[in-house]
């Protein structure tokens, strides 16, 4: 094998390599198009690194195994697509409630239900946030290139460990199956979970008050500490607790631990926005259409910029609001019927027009569709 600076690889391969670079050593999953290459590559690579790969009976078992492995102290992940992600929602709630770090890759395909198995879509934006019931926050990141598949997977693990939370890597068929040159560089930062330093009898796995970032240390199952994971309302020790003030405290915590750390969690990328009179705001594969449209529009003298939402949840309301304040109009291309546009509408002032470009025929939005909207707007 020749030593090459850039590897021409699929997004799904880069996601796997990103997970391994971040220190993940456990994968449990059930293969599903268009995410199967993550399972395939993980099954080869994890044993090489002393890790473990398990093909489970279904996606319900997959996320249960991932939660268990992470609770035992090993960075863990799974990968799936819409139908599997739907099955995972119940146990995703367990990970939220138990504050268990893990990474769930959803390579989105056309839905609902089985949908078009090999075709792309971006229809799981709201599901990533609200698929599991009850009030809670979540982190979701969305890559738009093979390099970002690698980089954001590492970031997903770091955020999962830092904030004791499941993190969704919301990729899509285009990006997951796309091949592109990427560099699997050494991660700049690898975050390990905070472990307890107190005497084992004093350890309370959910006692976040007074902790840095309001995140309690997490001891591994099988260590000298006792850790309880309880899907029912529980107190600081993890014992079932039906007290109303306790429910209020913890449900607010599942939400506020993300809100209080928005500046750290939220990442957006800006392109040519300084003098922009119009903005394209988008995410995932549609960023590629948007960037091409931006260049075409600039050639025609239309002052356009692009805001890429790298973090989808928590939603970058402040960053979006700032752009909406600056420009006359915002175009939101997305391969769904307006899930991101709806969030933008919440912070879009009346002077700023908001247009969606939406496709659900499993075809990528072309740059020309976006350009046509911009030309129409700029007349």
């Amino acid at each position: 094998m020749t030593l090459k600076k850039n590897i021409f690889a699929m997004g799904n391969e880069a996601i796997t390599e990103g997970a391994l670079a971040a220190g993940a050593r456990f994968y449990a999953g059930y293969p599903i198009t268009p995410s199967s290459e993550i399972a395939e590559r993980s099954s080869i690579r994890l044993p090489q690194l002393g890790g473990m790969f398990v093909q489970m009976e279904d996606e319900i078992g997959s996320i249960a195994a991932v939660i268990g492995a992470s609770a035992a102290g090993v960075k863990s992940y799974t990968a799936t697509s819409g139908p599997g992600f739907s099955l995972m929602q119940e146990n995703l709630g367990v990970a939220v409630m138990g504050e268990i770090p893990c990474v769930i890759v959803n390579v989105q395909r056309s839905g609902p239900s089985t949908g078009l198995a090999t075709k792309p879509a971006q229809g799981d934006v709201m599901q990533a946030k609200w698929g599991t019931h009850g009030d809670h926050g979540i982190i979701a990141l969305s890559p738009s290139s093979v390099q970002e598949c690698y980089d954001l997977t590492i970031r997903a693990f770091n955020l999962a460990e830092l904030y004791r939370t499941p993190v969704i890597l919301l990729a899509d068929e285009i990006i997951g199956h796309m091949r592109e040159g990427y560099c699997p560089h050494l991660p700049k930062e690898i975050i390990e979970r905070k472990k307890p330093l107190c005497a084992n009898r004093d350890y309370k796995p959910y006692d976040f008050c007074g902790e840095e970032n309001e995140i309690a240390p997490l001891a591994a199952f099988g260590s000298e500490y006792i850790t309880r994971i309880n899907g029912s309302g529980h107190d600081e020790s993890g014992n079932a607790c039906g007290r109303l003030d306790n429910a209020d405290k913890f449900i607010r915590h599942y939400h506020e631990k993300f809100q209080k750390n928005r500046d750290d969690i939220i990442e957006t990328k800006s392109f040519d926005l300084q003098d922009a009179e119009y903005a394209i705001i988008t995410f995932g594969c549609s960023v590629r259409s948007g960037k091409a449209a931006l260049k075409l529009a600039r050639q025609k003298g239309i002052k356009v910029g692009l805001l890429q939402l790298v973090t989808i949840w928590p939603f970058p309301y402040e960053q979006v609001a700032k752009i909406c304040e600056q420009v006359q109009g915002v175009v939101v291309p997305e391969m769904n019927l307006g899930q991101i546009q709806g969030e933008i509408r919440k912070v879009c002032p009346t002077h700023c027009s908001l247009w969606g470009i939406n496709r659900v025929d499993s075809q990528m939005i072309t740059p020309y569709e976006i350009l046509a909207k911009l030309e129409e707007a700029a007349i």
């Binding site: 020749t2 091949r179 990528m364 740059p367």
Partner: protein, 178 residues
Amino acid sequence: MKETWQVIFSGVGGQGLMLAGKLLGDAATGYEGKYAVMTSAYGVESRGTFAKSDCLISSSEIDYPEVLKPDVVIALAAVAYKKYAPLLAKGTVLLYDDSIEPLPSYAEQICLPLAKIAKEAGNPLGINLVSLGVLVQQTGIVQELSVINAIKDEFAGREKQIMLNLQSFQAGIRAKQI
């Protein structure tokens, strides 16, 4: 030199259309410092129905990852040829196997016995590599040596596979001189 090449390898699943695109992209990014993107489309069947890979090779960063205005379309099966021939405009080269019934098209059509060449080169399954050889020879999209290196990387440790694929590729390189 052209800044961006847009190429489609089309045919049916099982013909190695993704592999051809992968080798082309790997040759460009790994050995020539160029940018390359490959996307694909196929059905739920593992083989036998329409499939394609879109390859873009460029000296600058590539935004949109699908082919919008193809320079070359390679059609290795009738289903793919019938899809593209009526759609293509002037300025596109349509390379197809001589087993396919020709149709009128605005594209510049090149008909070659690709399957026959593959068979004669000792690997009937190598039609994808033959067509890649013709593409490289006709366009100079990447250097011949870059593809040879990409083949050696792809099949590292599998000498027979390297030999068969190199034979197919080089038969494609020579094809127009036959």
